[in-house]
């Protein structure tokens, strides 16, 4: 092997074709790498792939790297075992953020790299665990990849694969074939799939679907977050009470608030009844009158718009009756069948995981009785010991269905329950905190309305939400006369949504205290 070559003139300028695959463990990046290597070898090229995966663990970001070049005069090329940033011909990213990661690692450069990426998202724990919305903005990734790549093929290859009964490696292989980057025919790609183990037909189907898709429509449009659904207000809703509500909406409120108001009305009719939705319109109507009186028109009635949203949210609080109602609806049974993918000849049963506590039971009692029990801690805890435990509720069986059905029927007495009293008190205290701000600090009033976002969930989660709400609101005194009060209030709320225990919020509150 100790051959020595003396002349610089002998140095060839051939370069291997280089491909990097960025995937998550368990996604089949290895299968894709194996296919590419097998394809190259079948076509008489030399090929090398490497990876650094652990053996078993799933979900972590991982990278496979491939180089290929034909041997020259029987001399095998020397391949690198890792990609050089700025020197990669093709990057295959099996998820949108992994495409972003490939750019961050310098693997995608405009002079040479073609990026083939799936635009679907698989959220990382860091994104999912935030109490608020921790999902990374996909448009930032699109901006960066468009800037960094020579050419991009990007669509949802995961969904395409699922639809065709296979997995993403097959659709990415199809997109690679369509990109015309490797000097091998489509038939050669297909032959490689045929040469491999199982699921050949589904793989081929997916491969071809992805091939066609990449040729005809190589790019998906990506927006920051999917749009909200605003239903058009009907001319007539088919019931006099509903028509009256729609009529009131059109007559009493500005155009800009109508979409959210209608969503609120719909929600509250569904939650309780048309009369309750009417009450909602009364409430927002009063707020709107104040809004108008305080120059709200200049601000596009921001207060009315946000109140339309959050008063509806506050009035449609999450109680036992609501849960029982939602769980027993026929439409829900149908939706679960669809989501789970139950076939015609299969039978579906649902088991709900519920953990009622005495607090919830008490809240569902008429307020007098509820308060009476609450004032007797011994009785309360005696009852709690009997009630407070996890229950597996089989909604598809008659006993449990009837139980939930009966609880849902308590809707009729909802407005007399202790929970309703509490919610109404909280609602009014909240609105009363906002109203005096109108004349002094309109923007801050709007932010106070927006703070309602913090109250959500059940049991402990609900309690934690309430306490965060209270802590954010505690800064109101400090902020009410500041011009930047609204900005600070917004920051406090954002901090509150960052972590469960409100550590970020504590820090933000300390900063506010020093203002």
């Amino acid at each position: 092997m100790n051959e020595t070559v003396n002349l610089k003139t002998l140095i060839a300028s051939d370069k291997p074709l280089t491909l990097a695959i960025l995937a998550m463990g368990g996604q089949g990046g290895g299968v894709l790498a194996d296919w590419i290597v097998a394809l190259a070898e079948e076509q008489g090229w030399m090929a090398q792939s490497t990876s650094v995966p652990g053996v078993a663990q799933r979900t972590g970001a991982t990278i496979y790297y491939i180089e290929m070049l034909p041997a020259r005069d029987g001399v095998s090329p020397i391949f690198s075992l890792m990609p050089t940033p700025g020197d990669v011909d093709v990057v295959l990213a099996a998820e949108l953020m992994e495409a972003g990661r490939s750019v961050l690692r310098g693997l995608v450069t405009p002079d040479k790299t073609v990026l083939i990426a799936s635009t679907h998202r698989s959220f990382a724990v860091g994104e999912k665990e935030k109490p608020g919305d921790g999902i990374g903005d996909p448009t930032v990734v699109v901006g960066a990849t468009d800037f960094a790549a020579k050419r991009t093929i990007a669509f949802d290859m995961d969904t395409l694969a699922l639809k065709n009964g296979s997995v993403i490696s097959a659709s990415m292989f199809g997109a690679l074939a369509a990109a015309d980057l490797l000097p091998f025919s489509k038939e050669a790609f297909e032959a490689t799939i045929r040469g491999g183990g199982k699921g050949i037909e589904a793989s081929l189907k997916t491969f071809n679907a992805a091939f066609d898709r990449a040729r005809t429509r190589p790019r998906d449009e990506i927006s920051a977050s999917p749009p909200k659904r605003f239903d058009a207000m009907p001319e007539t809703a088919g019931h006099p009470e509903l028509d009256r509500l729609v009529h009131r909406l059109r007559a009493e409120f500005p155009e800009v608030a109508l979409p959210l108001l209608f969503a609120g009305v719909k929600k509250l009719v569904d939650f309780q009844d048309p009369a309750y939705a009417g009450e909602y319109l009364d409430r927002v109507g009063k707020l709107h009158a104040l809004d108008r009186a305080n120059g709200g028109e200049e601000k596009d009635y921001a207060f009315t718009v946000q109140a339309a949203k959050y008063v509806a949210v506050a009035m449609a609080y999450d109680d036992v009756i609501r849960v029982a109602d939602l769980k027993t609806r026929g439409s829900r049974f149908d939706r679960v069948r669809k989501e789970v993918g139950v076939k015609q000849d299969q039978i579906l049963y649902m088991t709900e995981y519920m953990h009622p506590r005495m607090e919830e039971v008490c809240g569902t009692l008429p307020k007098g009785l509820g308060l009476w029990v609450e004032k007797r801690p011994k009785l309360f805890s005696w009852l709690d010991r009997r009630i407070n435990k996890g229950r597996r509720v089989q909604t598809g069986t008659l006993f449990w269905f009837l139980t939930l059905y009966t609880v849902a029927a308590l809707r009729r007495i909802r407005r007399r329950t202790l929970r309703h009293l509490r919610e109404t008190e909280h609602l009014e205290a909240w609105l009363n905190a906002a109203i005096p701000l109108f004349s002094r600090n309109y923007d801050l009033a709007v932010e106070v309305i927006n703070n309602r976002r913090l109250v959500k969930g059940y049991s402990d989660t609900h309690a934690r939400g309430l306490s965060k709400f209270d802590r954010v609101m505690s800064a109101l005194m400090t902020l009410s006369d500041r011009e930047d009060g609204a900005i600070w209030m917004k920051r406090l709320r954002q901090a509150a949504l960052l972590d469960e225990n409100g550590i970020a919020l504590d820090g933000a509150l300390k900063t506010v205290a020093t203002l």
């Binding site: 463990g25 690198s80 849902a408």
Partner: protein, 717 residues
């Protein structure tokens, strides 16, 4: 049996003379062992050498035909000790493990082995877990070679070179009566390439022959005065013998022109990276031609002084390329050049980075600096080098850093360890945070979000031992977590025995998932499967009771979060002294699915009544707080944006990869989270009774639903 089959890889091991082997590096090594007439193979699984173990475990018949004994060693120490068969008898043996983690464990046996020396070839295959993707401390195995005078091979990372190194290693071992280590880095273990196979060889001298004809020589035992003789023998006979062998057999290689102003010396494992760097600088090509003289040390230790001197003489300067700290070889070369008064300048880690992976850009930068210092003219017409910096500095790309999330490996979908840590979180909420000593294994993922549990990790099976100092009066107890793999590797004696003997007043949580899961799902002593080749089903509870533990609780379904939580609470608060041991057992879901999925599909196909479970979330009920995710982190439990204009935050959602482990429901029940979760039981091939009851129920329920819907005033959807 491990749930993954390696039957296809076993076929690759059967290739004969002249056939082309195509596959990954670690399998090529496995094949090379069989071609070298090895008598026995042992080792401890771990990335990146697990496949060697897995494939041989599946190749029992072939191994029997060849007369090769294969053993899944209890630890690296056991594997290293196994090599003592080659001390007196002319049998070739090979063992393997992850390095340096495993070499640390094995070093007691290795020291003894290398002191006495070997007759038969003894080869240690080290899977170097260094650089990207590594899960262990970043150290060099080189130190072990130096301290024990064992030889260390570091071949060029292509299959023919690696395969050749296996054969060379055995011969070097025999020629110098010294065990030889062969280090292969993680990428080289996983590299796909090809080589021309040879026939497998039966060992010329068998273990049976050895057993039946025992030989004994007191001079090979590490006891005075023999230990002093060993030292002398190593330095005066074995070392020179090795150097001669390496020289004669030309194990190290020279490339490029014979003469030059400068030269590059590198470890074999660095060769491909150096060549790529030189190629980018316009000084080499992809076929191995170089404008600069290259000296490739496929033997990292011992150094062949004459080769180094010959290479250096006549050159202005040379640079040593060795990865990892410290620069052992560079230091040795400095000593050599100084002693011989050779004025060639020697560079290395003064130009190249002290630590970290030597990637192509790192090497290109270092070599460029070196060449600029001594032979700038060489760089004359270099093509532009790849440089992503302008792209990386653009604000559009910089903005990515805020958006692209970290994505470390984590617990799999349905992992039975998840509910254990969910329970620990719940206990934490009640009793406050505790000092938690972690161990090695899947359970170490608890240190990451969302659980954030675990303070230290000290080594395999050492979790509870690493909490032993906290055996003092206090209002809180320490908690130590250890997997079943760590338990049997080292933990029973070193951790549990230690705790029992010292009356360690803490909690020991043994996470039993029926496999050595993190290394690929190999069977261990307490595995529940029946393995025809191994004795499994040995109870961890019996083992700890056997060495004197008294407070022992077995939890047979980790998904029972409430029970898990209550047991932990009891362990933390009981008045009983001494270790409180909880054995939490449920099968590794990855392996369980591998086994159960095909069975389920077949049963359904055969028309049997089967029930499939999975979980779901009622979107309307979910309020988007994600408390459930903070107690889970399951890949199948995610979030999604909702189109409801009244909801700000994304709601929880479960996708089709859910395996119905039950954690979501149990957690939301135990932590009193919310009623959004439901379990969907889908009955495949329902029988007549199923259908009868279902229709009856559906009739009533459907009637009630229709009745209520009719009475409800609603906007049309």
């Amino acid at each position: 049996m491990a749930e993954r089959s390696f039957a296809r890889e076993v076929e690759d091991l059967k290739l004969g003379e002249g056939e082309i082997f195509r596959g990954e590096g670690i399998l090529a090594i496995t094949k090379a062992l069989l071609q070298s007439g090895v008598s026995y193979v042992g080792g401890y699984q771990g990335s990146p050498i697990s496949h060697l173990m897995d494939v041989l475990a599946d190749a029992k018949d072939m191994m029997e035909d060849l007369g090769v004994h294969f053993e899944t060693s209890a630890s690296e120490a056991a594997a290293a000790a196994m090599l003592s068969a080659s001390v007196m008898y002319p049998v070739r043996g090979a063992v393997t493990w992850k390095s340096t983690a495993g070499t640390n464990v094995a070093s007691d046996a290795l020291s003894n082995l290398s002191s006495g020396g070997v007759n038969g070839g003894a080869l240690i295959i080290l899977g170097e877990d260094f650089g990207e993707g590594s899960s262990i401390m970043q150290e060099r195995s080189h130190a072990f070679a130096m301290k024990s005078q064992m030889w260390l091979l570091d071949p060029r990372p292509n299959l023919p070179s690696i395969v050749q190194a296996v054969e060379d290693g055995f011969q070097l071992s025999e020629a110098s009566n010294t065990p030889v280590m062969l280090e292969v880095r993680i990428r080289a273990c996983h590299v796909h390439g090809q080589f021309v196979a040879k026939d497998n060889k039966r060992p010329t001298y068998t273990l049976k022959q050895a057993l039946e004809n025992p030989v004994r020589d007191v001079n090979r035992i590490v006891l005075p005065p023999a230990n002093f003789i060993h030292e002398k023998d190593k330095l005066e006979r074995r070392w020179p013998a090795a150097v001669n062998f390496i020289k004669e057999r030309k194990l190290n290689e020279f490339f490029g022109p014979e003469e030059g102003e400068i030269g590059i010396i590198m470890l074999g494992g660095m060769y491909n990276g150096v060549m790529r760097a030189l190629q980018q600088l316009g000084l080499a090509d992809v076929y191995g031609n170089s404008s600069i003289p290259l000296y490739v040390m496929n033997v990292a230790y011992p150094m062949v002084d004459e080769e180094v001197v010959d290479f250096c003489i006549g050159k202005k300067a040379v640079i040593m390329v060795e990865e990892g700290a410290p620069e052992y070889i560079e230091q040795t070369m400095h000593t050599l050049l100084r002693r011989r008064d050779i004025q060639t300048k020697l560079h290395g880690k003064d130009i190249l980075p002290l630590g970290g992976e030597y990637t192509a850009p790192v090497m290109m930068k270092g070599l460029k600096t070196f060449i600029e210092m001594y032979d700038r003219i060489l760089l004359g017409n270099q093509p532009p080098v790849p440089d992503p910096t302008p792209i990386l500095n653009d604000p559009k790309v910089k903005a990515l850093a805020e958006v692209v999330p970290a994505r470390p490996a984590g617990f799999c979908t349905g992992c039975p360890e998840r509910p254990i840590f969910a329970a620990m979180k719940l206990v934490e909420k009640e009793l406050g945070e505790h000092h938690v000593s972690a161990d090695i294994g899947c359970h170490l993922f608890s240190i990451l979000p969302p659980f954030n549990i675990g303070g230290t990790t000290m080594g395999y099976g050492l979790g509870p031992a690493s909490a032993s100092a906290f055996n003092v009066e206090a209002d809180k107890r320490s908690i130590a977590v250890m997997g079943d793999g760590g338990f049997w590797h080292n933990g029973l004696a070193t951790s549990v025995g230690n705790a029992v003997f010292n009356k360690q007043d803490g909690v020991i949580l043994v996470v039993d998932n029926y496999y050595s899961a993190a290394t690929g799902g190999q069977d261990i002593l307490s595995s529940r499967a029946i393995n025809p080749n191994r004795k499994t089903n040995n109870s961890i509870v019996n083992a700890v009771k056997g060495i004197g533990a008294t407070w022992v609780r077995q939890i047979d379904r980790t998904y029972d979060v409430a029970k898990m939580r209550d047991t932990l609470k009891e362990a933390l608060t009981t008045r009983e002294k001494g270790p409180k041991i909880i054995v939490a057992s449920s099968e590794c879901m990855l392996n369980k699915q591998r086994r159960v999925k095909p069975q389920f599909a077949k049963a359904v196909k055969d028309g049997k009544r089967m029930v499939k479970e999975r979980f779901g979330v009622d979107e309307d009920v979910c309020t988007g707080d994600h408390a459930c995710i903070r107690l889970s982190g399951c890949p199948s439990l995610s979030v999604k944006h909702t189109d409801d204009p009244l909801k700000d935050d994304p709601v929880a959602a479960i996708d089709n990869s859910c395996v119905g482990c039950g954690n979501c429901g149990e957690v939301s029940e135990a932590a009193v989270l919310c009623p959004s979760f439901y379990r969907a039981d889908v009955i495949h091939n329902p029988n007549g009774w199923d259908r009868f009851v279902y229709h009856l129920r559906n009739k009533v329920i459907g009637w009630l639903q229709a009745r209520r819907a009719a009475g409800r005033i609603m906007f049309a959807d």
